[in-house]
């Protein structure tokens, strides 16, 4: 079954973590181990110098070969870049809007280069979506992975007037904030609403036909956004706060609101968003020492399906190889090629073939198809 991943920071992994994603994960890991590194002995070489920017990164889990092996043929590919003045990632984000913009453009350029190489294929409208689905009916080792471009945090959009430019570049989804305080409003981990600049931005997004990712908004900011926004909504990367009360997870009311507007919640494969109550320092009693596994993701699927009375509004948005390289993947995900096992877990829990297909890709495909079929 084709898997669509609603949240993959491919370019951030390629550029910030220096991973050539056309290579298989074992190659990436071997490079990162430094095993084959033989520094030059040339007098004028810089290779003996060691600096502080080496990320303490976890093992790579996503390469395009593994995506193909797991039939992850469609992904919402992120354009990162944000101003990070507060929140848990403060030390890692940029400091100015111009830098946030530049990083998003660098990610766009990387995707564009991989489209040029035939590794990726743009999915920007219904025709390209159908072409991608068609190609993955009978995939080969060279079938391009379809990508829907999404801006992870609107900080990268310099102002409302720039929305049209991003739409022309292929962007089809935008989230207003990340964690902490951002240019257009308060994100999860902060308390507060939208800033005035968010309103013209929302209007420009609506006019362009870009869908809104409601993820990672502060409570008040989410309410203000829902009051203003009439277009399609979804959440690219969050779980159910009822099971794991992280600030970026969604309460039942928010999940109902997204579903009520025809949206989809793509569930995250990030340990911090899966774990039951407890803190990092003191995990809850009974928690698996190795961290949550894919069955924890299935628990969140169960919760959302029971809450909504069906499987029409849930999808996957793994976020694998994000989090600045921190290792937050479920314990039983070695690479993204393991995702089909998540579908096996769903089957073993009694989900029928139709529901498995919807969760694997059908819901996301339906959501974007509908968004792109709306008259503007």
């Amino acid at each position: 079954v084709l898997i669509a991943d609603g949240h993959l920071p491919l370019a951030a992994s390629a550029l910030a973590l220096r991973r050539d994603l056309t290579q298989a994960v074992p190659v990436l890991r071997e490079r990162e181990s430094g095993a084959r590194r033989v520094p030059s002995r040339h007098k004028d070489s810089l290779e003996r110098r060691v600096g502080p920017l080496l990320a303490g990164q976890g093992p790579a889990r996503v390469g395009l070969p593994e995506m193909r092996a797991g039939r992850v043929g469609l992904a919402v590919a992120l354009l990162g870049g944000r101003v990070q003045t507060s929140g848990p990632d403060q030390a890692r984000g940029g400091r100015t809007r111009e830098v946030a913009y530049a990083i998003a453009r660098s990610h766009l350029a990387y995707y564009r280069a991989l489209v040029g190489e035939g590794e990726l294929a743009w999915v920007r409208d219904v025709a390209e979506l159908d072409a991608c689905l068609g190609a993955w009916e009978r995939p080969t080792a060279r079938t391009p992975v379809g990508v829907i471009l999404a801006i992870e945090c609107a900080d990268a959009i310099l102002d409302a007037a720039q929305v049209a430019e991003w739409h022309r570049a292929g962007v089809r989804s935008v989230a207003l904030t990340h964690l902490g305080l951002h240019v257009y409003g308060h994100g999860a981990h902060a308390r507060g609403g939208l800033f005035p600049a968010a309103y013209p931005l929302l209007d420009a997004l609506a006019a362009s036909g870009i869908v809104l990712d409601l993820g990672r908004l502060a409570t008040l900011a989410l309410r203000e956004t829902l009051d203003r926004w009439r277009g399609p909504v979804w959440v690219s990367h969050a779980n159910a706060a009822a099971l794991a009360p992280a600030p970026e997870n969604l309460g039942d009311e928010a999940i109902r609101a997204v579903a009520g507007r025809g949206g989809v919640v793509s569930l995250a494969c990030s340990a911090a968003l899966l774990t039951p109550p407890g803190t990092d320092a003191a995990p809850a009693a009974g928690a698996d020492a190795a961290g949550p596994s894919l069955s924890a993701v299935a628990d969140h699927v169960d919760h959302v399906c029971q809450l909504l009375g069906g499987a029409d509004h849930v999808a996957l948005g793994t976020g694998l190889d994000g989090s600045f390289g921190r290792d937050v993947a479920p314990a039983d995900v070695d690479t993204i090629a393991d995702l089909p096992r998540f579908l096996d877990i769903l089957r073993s829990r009694g989900y029928g073939a139709d529901d498995v297909r919807k969760i694997a890709h059908g819901n996301l495909v339906r959501f974007f198809r509908a968004a792109w079929s709306r008259p503007r």
């Binding site: 390629a14 550029l15 050539d20 590194r37 007098k43 810089l46 600096g51 913009y101 530049a102 280069a113």
Partner: protein, 363 residues
Amino acid sequence: MTTPLLLVDSHLDLSFSAIQLQRDLTVPVSAVRAHDPEPLVRSFGTCTVTFPELRRGGVGIVFGTVMTRIDPNDRWTATGMYVQSQCHGIGVGHLAYYQALERAGVLRFLRTPDEVDRHVADWEGDGERTPIGLVLAMESADSILGPEQVPEWYEAGLRMVSISHYGVSSYAHGTGTEGGLLPRAKPLLDALAAHGIILDLTHFADQAFWEAVDAFGGAVGASHHNCRALVPGQRQLSDDMIRVLIERDGVIGVACDAWMLDTRWERELPGCEQRAHVTLDAMADHLDHIAQMAGSARHCGIGSDLDGGYGQEQSPLDLDTIADLQRLVGILDRRGYSMADIRGIFSGNWLRLLKDAWRRKTT
């Protein structure tokens, strides 16, 4: 304070400093210094360049780089890439930073001889209200995916390109290696020449330098480069190299880096654990050497490279920020340079080369 003399700095890695080192370049140097984490300073040095400081120093035109390279063994900046698609991404990000600053009114791209003339007039008329002029340059051509992409980069404003940096690029052997051009270099060089893009001869391995000089028909310069006769090492230009730059009517931007300026600098030791043994006078020595060979100051310029992987610690002792480059006016004056020569070194020579090169565009 008297108005500083207009200075063209032919090599500043501004985007790298802003994006990879996470500095806000729109605030005073003092604010960046207060904000930079200690491990960053230990490795990349104390900040010397921000936009307010450029203004204070009369630096009205900068060659701002797109700076990324293939360099899998890079453990220092941890930004060396494996393949060109990655370099292309980072490179476009560097371009986009400058574009965002142009949108904010901080910078203004200079793309044509007319734009250069207008900018100089504006700067000398009302410098405070004039954005800093930016000539888009590239250090290592790895972010150009191939010759077919040169028109796109030209449209974006790219006007000067070095083919390699440290290590072996997709096109040529660079500093710290031995070898010549690679097979893909020639079509790229032809495309650059056809667009009137200046070939920056800085950061070639020696053999590659000579092969590039032979293969390239357009205008040449050396954006940040000192003299091997004064400071030995592959990174510096031999007298023969200086001679060919003079013959081709090029300009050499003398750099501030103690690595290239101070024979007693210990390359194995981090910059923060030693002091340069030279002052700005050493830069004048290199300018002198070039001027003596040429018989005039026509081929001398300044390409400080400040904050390009080093900071105040690794700069001349009497340089605190880039604004101190103005002190070269007095130093050169005391050495007998005429005001016309000093103006040439500070701005005129580079501006002449830019305009001459850009008029040679054939496509």
